[in-house]
Symmetry: C2
Amino acid sequence: MRTFVSVDCVIFGFDGSRLNVLLVQRQSEQYPNSGLKLPGSLIYQEEDADIAAHRVLYELTGIRKMALKQFKSFTSPRRTANPDDLKWLEYAYGNKIDRLITISYLSLCKINRRLNVISKYKTVEWCPVNRLPDMPFDHNQIVAESMEEIKQWLNDDQMVVFELLPSKFTATALRNLYEAIRQKQCDARNFHKKMINMFCVIPLDEKQANVPHRAGRLYKFDKNLYKKRMSI
Amino acid sequence: MRTFVSVDCVIFGFDGSRLNVLLVQRQSEQYPNSGLKLPGSLIYQEEDADIAAHRVLYELTGIRKMALKQFKSFTSPRRTANPDDLKWLEYAYGNKIDRLITISYLSLCKINRRLNVISKYKTVEWCPVNRLPDMPFDHNQIVAESMEEIKQWLNDDQMVVFELLPSKFTATALRNLYEAIRQKQCDARNFHKKMINMFCVIPLDEKQANVPHRAGRLYKFDKNLYKKRMSI
């Protein structure tokens, strides 16, 4: 049995209204299933999984040190059940492959961070998590389980939302993000009331610029206040 | 490159004073490094990692459904750097192996649960986490990282300690366990004061039986009260 091990990266980004995942398009057009997928790679001989995942992210973003957390291994023998997926895989890596196990990594990324794609991919795009295309292997399942994982992170530590927001943000953006991760709506007025206390969010004397709608007040997160409160 | 993927199980058990890990002794005596190690196995062709890990536990304990959580993959190319480890591995599995990646699983087990070992192992024993032998591969590192992980679980949810305790326990046992996971001592008097409130622990009208020292009062954990308090 020729078993290969890969890494796949689930990179979340928030655009102010929707939660997105970074997807790439496979290079080869000659295989039927050459649509969008999670960025990933086989682990090279001299690499461990962390190094391979950082390499994938570097090729996508030009950033060498991105916060990246090993999430879960996906190991079902059925992962490569689709012959199209397997054909593409063997074409891309030039190997006969019987089984492909993948180790998934999660990253929360500020979406306004400029991406310097230096990779082999034809397309790199942010795709809303609730409008994902059908992806090869079990990539849809990997994203679904990753969503559950960051929901758990949010339960354990509210601070996680601020890794996805720019340093200044509107109350609406914070609520949208909160709802996108929790996958349920919350009452706008109640949320606003709770926001200042729960999240240690400070209103600024500043409004949004260059927006097509009424400019909203900007807020920032007070990390020191939050840490102080949590340590009690 | 012949890559193989295994699972390794870190099963924690608490004996009232010390935190232990369940170790097994390899069957083969003819190889130098045939000492204690974590229970594990290569993943069989038709299995996913979860099924393989449950199989390993079943062979060790006779229990089919044990709570088991995938923790982390260990993937360093240096895992098999010790020729003795590799020799044993190839002898045990009858395959030439270039690289061995392992997926670790964690389990918290009540140590008084009777183990029906139906496995191939010569010895199965509980070993205190602070007196582990030198184990093959990176098994010492796996246990060390697992300790950090359950410490994190305890930070996120205090209830985790009660998975390791019998239904009735002494205040000393609870404190010993808490200290073993946190890897630091805490003041006995303060701990006792906090215990009732923090942990939702109820004193019983009952004492230890058949102990060589003064019998301690027994307590139980009020799960419903705890859940109610956490949901506020």
